[in-house]
């Protein structure tokens, strides 16, 4: 250990912050089992009723399904393009490289609403009908930067020697990608896929502007929260927390496997 500040001091500060991070989430989970028909406190008794109510709520169940569908579509668009972008940035020098890099990063600092507005203008101008598909394209574009950043950082750590060796031994681009690059970036790839999935499941700003008739779960929750919150919100929230927990666990399991690049 190379402690700088005394351990008790730093841990009580950090512990306080962690408590701050977890308390509100725990409150929602607890409230989702509250038998009171009102949303908030006090806690009147334990029940699973709101969970069965959620299962019976067609609008919510449809929205959950839509969210998952959009999230996988977003991954299908954002992750492969992100990997290509990262490889191009890592391996080659081309005119306008710095501009390309900043273009990729722009959606990180640009408010989602502005990304949404410009895409909406694009769709209106091109006469494209809004649907779950237009949401996917929007989220996919906004989230390419996640994969680019993660995979690019990994490629930079690796250096070029393996790639050059494979090249000298006569491997073509395709073979190099599958047998050299891919095994090395696997964990970064899984990590960024998980991040893109969860960001997409939770995305509202871009979705808000690009949504057609079908809605995702955050949009449905949003419309409920703006009127009068019902206990279903706590339940849907808890379900989403569980869903992401499962995703994260799967992601960590997958990425903990053998890592050929680490020797």
């Amino acid at each position: 250990m190379k402690s700088v500040a005394p351990t008790p001091v730093i841990w009580s500060l950090a512990g306080g912050v962690m408590l701050f991070l977890y308390l509100p989430i725990l409150l929602i989970v607890v409230l989702s089992f509250n038998s009171s028909p009102r949303v908030g406190l006090p806690f009147q008794g334990f029940t699973f009723d709101w969970y069965t109510a959620l299962l019976d709520n067609r609008q919510m169940m449809k929205a959950i399904w839509n969210s998952v569908y959009v999230a996988f579509g977003t991954v299908a668009i954002g992750v492969p393009l992100g990997v290509m972008g990262a490889i191009a940035l890592d391996r080659f020098h081309f005119p306008g490289k710095e501009t390309f890099r900043r273009l990729v990063l722009l959606p990180v600092v640009l408010p989602g609403v502005i990304t949404g507005v410009s895409l909406l203008n694009f769709y209106v101008w091109g006469g494209v009908k809004l649907s779950l598909f237009t949401i996917m394209m929007g989220q996919g574009t906004a989230l390419i930067c996640i994969t680019v950043t993660e995979v690019f950082a990994r490629l930079q750590q690796l250096g070029r020697s393996q790639y050059e060796a494979a090249h000298d031994l006569g491997a073509n681009e395709w073979e190099i990608f599958w047998r050299v690059t891919m095994p090395n970036i696997r964990t970064a790839l899984i990590g960024s896929t998980m991040i893109v999935l969860s960001l997409s499941l939770d995305e509202i700003a871009v979705t808000y502007l690009l949504t057609g008739r079908d809605n995702t779960l955050p949009m449905v929750l949003w419309s409920i929260l703006r009127r009068e919150a019902t206990p279903l919100v706590n339940v849907a929230g808890t379900v989403m927390i569980l869903l992401t927990l499962v995703l994260v666990t799967i992601g960590l399991r997958l990425s903990r496997g053998r890592q050929p690049g680490s020797h």
């Binding site: 730093i10 990729v104 722009l106 694009f122």
Partner: protein, 278 residues
Amino acid sequence: MAIWLLPPLLWFVLFMLVPYAITVFYSFGRMDGVLFAPDFSLENYRKVFFDAPYAPIILRSAWIGLLTAIFSSLLAYPVAMAMAFNLPSERARQIVYILVILPWWASYLVKAYAWKAILGPSGLINKGLMSAGLIDEPIRIFLYNDFSVVLTLTYIFTPFAVLSIYAQLERIPGSLIEAARDMGANGFEIFRRIVLPISVPGVLAGAVITFSLGFGDFLAPALLGGSDSLMISSVVISLLGVANDRPLAAAIGVTIIVLAALLISAVNRLEKRTQVRL
């Protein structure tokens, strides 16, 4: 080279540059009744900069973003320090790392709404104070103001700040700190002269993300903000909806795109200048 560069490049051109260009095109036009009329006028930009309420609301959003960035960095710093310097093993570090990310992965809306359940008139704080006999009536100052908005945004975005500060602190070799200690530096001196300077790029990176997320937010102000706590994203949405003024919304969009591009350049330069080689 082309097979790697071309697909993402074409995608960015089609789904970013072309939409931006169309937005610029719209921003020079005007509404003729309910229909868009192409034009080449700077009238919308004049409105953005000089007509109430647009420029003040952009500044207000930046102020909320700045507060979010400052508080997130302050909260994140001790956690990042504890992760980098006060954990016994790599495994413990991984576990705490995951514990920090998990709350970030919970739904944004649920987290914002949770603060309503804590700060509201029948929320956790008021119920607690009332049952302790400290107050008879619920206190209403916690909710529906800038305090609740900044608190919620800080809460939601702090994990981003932790991760980017930690990424810098992690680079500090233990030997550097031991050497400083051997030469008689105390904890505070080590912090001020080694840890703090090295962490600057991480703090900056985290602050840019939290600032931008706070700046562009429209959910927290709508859920927990007061009647006057309008932010620029909500203005853009209402311009597209009820007001049906696409050209003005486009002009605000273009203004913010330019500001964001400037922010990226400025921060890139700052991060490069403050980066310490280890």
